[in-house]
């Protein structure tokens, strides 16, 4: 059981470049999330989705876009990379039950130079 899988694990971008962080889960969870973690900081919610075709903004959505065409996949798109987007990105999923927890991927470390 793979759980939540993120790719790539590491990436270096130049300012202004674009890229997509991929996330897939095999637990049939309806809820999926993207968080970022900056050094010494907590996890900030970027975007989340409560099901295929439904997405919503979190605390720090600027500079990012998401889509949710299937239950399994929740890619995060950076359109014009900026140094402020240098961070570790975590994808997570949840069954959405009352006592459900978040299951995290291993993270994607992105550096924008």
């Amino acid at each position: 059981n793979a759980g939540v899988t993120q790719t790539p694990k590491f990436r270096i971008l130049k300012i202004g470049q674009s890229m997509t962080l991929q996330c897939t889960q095999d637990m049939n969870h309806n809820y999926m999330y993207w968080y970022r973690q900056d050094p010494g900081m907590g996890l900030k919610l970027i975007y989340y989705s409560v099901g295929a075709g439904i997405t919503d903004k979190g605390e720090v959505p600027n500079g990012y876009n998401v889509s949710r065409s299937t239950t399994e996949d929740f890619p995060l798109r950076l359109e014009l990379a900026a140094p402020s987007q240098t961070s570790v990105y975590f994808c997570a999923s949840s069954p959405g039950t009352l006592d459900g927890e978040l299951f995290f991927g291993e993270g994607s470390r992105l550096t924008v130079l």
């Binding site: 900081m41 919610l45 975590f90 997570a92 949840s94 006592d99 978040l102």
Partner: protein
């Protein structure tokens, strides 16, 4: 506006002693709380949770206490082991809203 706060960035404890990690929240609508553990270069993993109808929840060496009036929760690890050395995140959620808010984490170092 940080709704979940962990005011101690780090904690050092001797092996075998108790580790106490603290967390405060500001949103009185939160009624489900979780603790996550994170090792370097790995994703956070779920440790223990508590709902607002309880004031204590135990799982082996880990106990979480909730004080709703003070908007405060704590994680107790007894006895602490070197393998417990990690960053611990507190998280909170409102039932049926499914948005999880995280604190900034506390780095626990358990010395052998």
């Amino acid at each position: 506006d940080q709704q979940v706060k962990q005011n101690s960035p780090s904690l050092s404890v001797q092996e075998g002693r108790i580790s106490i990690l603290n967390c405060d929240y500001t949103n009185s609508m939160f009624d489900y709380f979780l603790w996550y553990k994170k090792y370097p270069a790995e994703g956070p993993t779920f440790l223990i949770s508590i709902s607002s109808i309880k004031d204590k929840n135990e799982d082996g060496r880990f106990t979480v206490f909730l004080n709703k009036s003070a908007k405060h929760l704590s994680l107790h690890i007894v006895p602490s082991q070197p393998g417990d050395s990690a960053v611990y995140f507190c998280a909170a959620r409102r039932y049926n809203f499914n948005k999880f808010y995280f604190g900034s984490g506390t780095k626990l170092n358990v010395k052998p």
